[in-house]
Structure formats: C-alpha cells, structure tokens
Symmetry: C2
Amino acid sequence: MYKPSIPKGMRDFSPAEMAKRNYIFNTIKSVYHRYGFLQIETPTMENLSTLMGKYGEEGDKLLFKVLDSGDFTSGVTTEEFAGRNAAFLASKMCEKGLRYDLTVPFARYVVMHRGEMVFPFKRYQIQPVWRADRPQKGRYREFYQCDADVVGSDSLLNEVELVQIIDTVFRKLNIRVAVKINNRKILSGIAEIIGEPDKITDITVAIDKLDKIGLDNVNAELRERGISDRAVEQLQPIIALSGSNEEKIARLRSVLAASETGLKGVDELEYIFSMLKGFDIAAVTELDLTLARGLNYYTGAIFEVKALDATIGSIAGGGRYDNLTGIFGLPGVSGVGISFGADRIYDVLTQLNGFPEESMEQTKVLFVQFGERELSYILPAVAQLRASGVNTEVYHEAAKMKKQLSYADTKGIPYVVLAGENEMNEGTFVLKDMRSGEQRSLSLEELKASLA
Amino acid sequence: MYKPSIPKGMRDFSPAEMAKRNYIFNTIKSVYHRYGFLQIETPTMENLSTLMGKYGEEGDKLLFKVLDSGDFTSGVTTEEFAGRNAAFLASKMCEKGLRYDLTVPFARYVVMHRGEMVFPFKRYQIQPVWRADRPQKGRYREFYQCDADVVGSDSLLNEVELVQIIDTVFRKLNIRVAVKINNRKILSGIAEIIGEPDKITDITVAIDKLDKIGLDNVNAELRERGISDRAVEQLQPIIALSGSNEEKIARLRSVLAASETGLKGVDELEYIFSMLKGFDIAAVTELDLTLARGLNYYTGAIFEVKALDATIGSIAGGGRYDNLTGIFGLPGVSGVGISFGADRIYDVLTQLNGFPEESMEQTKVLFVQFGERELSYILPAVAQLRASGVNTEVYHEAAKMKKQLSYADTKGIPYVVLAGENEMNEGTFVLKDMRSGEQRSLSLEELKASLA
C-alpha cells in the first residue's frame, strides 16, 4: 500500500497538540491586546524582489521559491539552462517566495499602507514562516513567529511596556524567566572608548565566556581576536562588571564618560530599569553586556528571555531598530519589537509539565446513547447545554456502554451523562465524573448548573 | 523610489479587517467546539505526490509548486529542458506544492495518524489554501477554508448536528439563511427510474432553471441534453415538486417506489428533517433537488447555505462521502462534513453592516500623557486596569492634547482618561466618553468599575 508522508522538517498538529499550541498563542494574543497591539496578517507568498538580499547570502539560499504558473521556462534559453546556475535560473522561473520571517513583510506592509495607518502603529502578527534549513531536533522548516512591534515612536515607554508584556505572558504561562537587557549604544560606546569600533562582536563573544573559562582565558582570547593590550586593559572594569543593575549602571557611566553615544545608552537603560521598578514585575530583569543578538540590526535596547527552570536557549527576544523600512526606500521609520518563540515555549511547558489539565477547547460532557427513544429524551438537554456554552457531545450510535465510555476516556472528556428507562420516567439524568467515578442523579436544571 | 507590492490575488489584512475576520473565525470555532470538534493543522506544503491527480487535470495546473532547494536542475537533462514540457519539468524540479484545499491533506492525515486517533474522529481545520486561478472580484489566490468533518461514523445524527452547527453559526452572526438539503441517493434513484444513470448533472442543471425559463423551456432543454421523451415525461412530477418538505418527501417516496437507492435517500432525508423539527432552528431548511454540488464526491446528504438578505453565492456547504481515504489506499473510511466560506461571509456582513461595533480585540481606554510627573501618577492605574482585563494604552509621549485625542479617535478607542495637576492632587481620574463627549471625575476604584 502507498504510504503518504509529509515534507521533511514540517509537522502535522493533532488536536492535543493544537490545544496546547492555542493555549500559548491565545495567552500571547490576549496580552498583546491588553497593551493595545492589533493583529495584521500578510500573504504567505511575497514577491522575491521583496525578500531577496534582506537576509544575507545564506538567507537567500534558504528561501522557498514558488515556480511561476503557466510556462515558467519561457524566460530561460536552453543555453542558460545548460549553464546550471541554480540561483540565476530560479530568478528567471520564480517571481514569488514564501515568507522567511515576519519583519521584512511588516516593513513592506508599513511602506505600502502608511497612508492609512495611525502612528505610533502597534501591530502584532502570529503566522508561520518557512526556511529551507537542514531540519534537526527543535529546528523545523515551517514554524510560527509571534511578533509585536511599535513603529513611529522613539519613546522609551515602549521598551518598558514590552518588558511588562514579556513578564505578563510568562507569568500567565507559569514560567519563571530572566529578562536580559542590553543597549547597542553602550556596546558602541565601549568600542569607541577602546578605539576598536569594528570589534564589538569579538568583545561580547569573549566576555560571554567569563563564567566558563575564567578571566585570564577571556583576556587571552581578546588578544587573539586582535584587541590591543591597552584596549584589553581598558576592558577590565567592563569584563568584571557585577552587582545590581544600579551598580552596573553607575560603573558604566564612569567608564563611558568620554563617549556621548555610550552615555546615551546608559541613560536609556537607567530609565527603563527605574520605570520597571514602579511595577510588580515577577521576572528577574538583568543588565547583561554580553547580549549581542541582532547586532547589525538593533540600535538601542536589546532584550533576551531565558527560562530559569529549563535548559533551553532564549524563548523570547527583541530590541529597538532605527531603520525598519530603509530597505524599501522609506527612511526614518524607527521601531522596537519583541518576538516569542512558540515552539521553544511549548518545549519548556512540556518539560515543566506546565500545560493546564483541561483546555477551553475540550468537550466537557458526553451523552451516552442507549437507543432512539432515549436519544429523543436527551437531545433537548444536549441543545440546552450547548446553548448555555457547554461543549457537549452525543455518542453517534447506540453502541456498547464500554465502547462509549472508552471514547470519552480517550478524548479526555471529564463528564458523561447516562439516561435510560428509569431516568426517562423520573425526568432525570445521571451525571458521572470520569475521574472520581462518582455518579449523581440530577434534574435538567441541576445538570446545567453542574456543568456550566 | 522603489514601490513594493504583493503578488496578485493575495492580500494584506489590516487591524480593522483582522478584527472582523477574527469575529467570523472565532464564532465558527466556538460553535465547532460546542459540538465536540477539535482543531488540527497540517503543513502549508504537501508532497506533490499527495496532491497531484486529486483535483482533476485543471486542478493540477492550479497547484502552486515549490522549487526544490539546492541544485534543482540535477534531475533534468538539457535535452529534456529543450522539450519545454512545463508539467514534466515541474515534476522533476519540484517535490512539494502548496495545500489546494483542506480535504486531501485531511485524508492524508487520517491515513498517517489513524493508529493514534479515536473514531468517530471529529476534526475542524481553519487554514489558508492556494490556487493559481486567474484572480477576479471575490476570487483570491490565497484564502481561508473552515472545514469540519466527522469520519468513521455512518450515523445520520452527524448530518443533523452539522445543520445545527450551520444554524448556530449564522444565528450568532445575525445572518438569516436557508439551508438547502438534497441527497445524492435520491438523484441516483431518479436517474435509475428514468433509465438515464449518466444524466444526473444534465437533469439537475435543467431543473434548476425552472423559475427562470419556465416548464416548457426546461423540458426542451432536457430533450436537447439527450433525455428521451419518455424520460422527460417521467420527470414531470419531480420538476413540479413543491410544497412543504414533508409533501416533497411523500411525493418522492411514491415516484421512487421502484428504486431501492432512491428510497434509501428519501428515508435519510426524512430522518434528518424530522430530527431537526425537535430543535429550535432559525434557518429555513428546504429540500432542494437541484442541489448537485460535489456530485462525483458526495454519496449521501448534500448541504448548501444561502444568505436570505444578500445577493451572493453559497456561503457554506458540505455533504456525506463514502470514501475519503481511498485515494491513499485506505478504503472504507466514510465521513460527512461542512465548510464555511469566510470571505463570502465577510462580504455578506459588510453588505448588511453586520459586524459588531466594538471588538474584543480593540483598545478600550487611552490614557493621555501630560508629562513625566503625570506619567508616574497614571502608570499604576494603567497596570491595575490591564491586570483586571481592560485593554489599555498610554499615549507614547506628552504631545498636544488634540493629537492624542485624534489617535484615540482614529483607532476607535471608546474612552480616554485625563489626569493632570488637579487630578493628581485629588487622587482622581477624568474619564471621557469619546462618543458622547461626557466627562466624569472618578476614583481609581470607580474607574476600574466603569471600564471592567
């Protein structure tokens, strides 16, 4: 027999998996709405002219390209084909590609729709993206991103609210997290002070290893990476930076005294941390200079979120960028945003056994079917329960009781209603709790009250 | 300046459009859950071996095909390319294609996962599909389908519940509808009786024109379509079928007395209509013999839903099929399902001005920002409102009042809070209703009570 399969790196989601995924998505959505972010969606396919060149040379190779419909060979001569240049041929045969992330389509959206938008524009977007990466554990070729961005506002209040959003989402999900915060301007200031403006990445990568390899090895690595002895000397107070966020900020302010950019970064971080103190934040918030994600992209705050009770990479992150739409010829649109990694959050909740036992989507009660007469008796009750908002099923046929209860059991339905000859005579229903096994005889009103 | 665009036949959805679309999707989802249907998702891409040949020759042409990553030319000789056979070349260069509907992926899902499924399996699926059709008004190359199916049950209770689902969804959306119901077995019976088993489509198409062209022309058309005079004679009571559903059923029972299949269809319809009588159904339910949708697919009940107050094609439909998974070598899996046309429902609600004025997603209140001191005063109130579930925004900077109010206005935010020197001294907040213009001075507790 022919066995169907799905493309590698892609997934089916069963009802049980969807309920858990929706729990995560709905939590994130509800918090986004709580802060005034509104949803948009962009098409699965974008013109390749929109996508190409936006993710580096490697990214271009990872784009899924869609063959033009009709005679896709018409733009290619046989000689050109014989040249076997895949990138060139693809550019002649494919106009469209699949979304690689949500940021470039959003930038394209802002440029196309700016006339009809209110700024600051606070949008969120939860959609799948596709990358022709080599699949491996935890890395898929189709996965969802959950982004929120504010564009058209320089106010640091946005950064503060984004940290609050992160905190609220993980508090609702019962995941303890640390939010690490850095600022690109501070990193630029450091590089400026030590006279090594091109070495920011080398410096942060080396400093990040302090815990693992110790100070001497960090310094050795810095020298290996071409940082001068004098600069390594100047970096010592920064490598050794420790204490509370306030202490770190005070130290940075003195080290960066000669860098206008650096001091601007310190001011920004100080504002964010002091504002956050006014709120009841459960997350650990921590100034972390080694945070260098999206370095050639972010221009101000940089965020990264780690789960405290699970060993997994970052589960959310983001930052401020100065030039979202420059790639499409519209300069001066700055913004700040965050993104939740739904698949990793799923893995953390699985590790922590943290999904709620019952989901909103689940069926709450199954009516057992004994026969046509009993069916006529139960159907009005079923209709009333559904009308009052209870997810209700009737077993589809008068099968053996064992089979019907096993259906409830396998589907995780917590209650079953039995109504046979006796109940029909009395006008009652027997409600059985599938976990405790307890049975109660109830009137329709009592049944509704028990299940609503 | 370079002007970005999106591929033809595809759409961006703005926050206002998304709120309306989510209103439709959430309504459908909640009703599906109410009846015990659970969500699944399948990947955007399927292997082309799964999709090809399932939608007819025309359908194969409308599939979007995804170019293999890496050296996609390796399986094609230059001579083969010179042959310019697009279908052949695509089959060599593309392993994957985009989902064309939700039915074939669902059939593939059932075959792959049947070992871990409970039957009857009641699943719903709301995902986009793609067709390389010529775009035109109301026809897109990317659009959502909203399908629910029960597989592994022959019980007619499923048909009854699907009609109840249709009724509940449109009642919740405040759209008056007619649910037209037919049965493939009756059509087969009619063809059998008149000895024209291959002419079912010709007969239904001709009968469907009765209102427009009159009986004489219908009969003329039937003869043109190759139906014998004698058969046209036999069809007269069926063409003239009218009255209540019960009257139609009684007439059909006598006309089809000699067809076992036909009578089975009559029995099924009678059961469905009599069961529906036991419920409070708002929709007009009507036996309609001209309903012939999906004729080479459906084997029992056929449903189609029309809006009564808008001129638009069918907005939902479905039916029973005997062989969902036969195409993948697994026979004997029967099912019954329905599908809502979200884009058409959107158009109907737009025509009827039927979207609710306020959406759950909208921001409910904007706090105006007067300056840093006032900001410190309002932020704890903002946090408390958010914690109690109120979608709340703070204007991002201390701009002119007019600009801040205009932001609220454009975004459709119904309330604004003003708190300056006076309010800070009194510990109060001024709540302004943006529609009536009414302003009230409130304590924090009163504010929360007013907005919750």
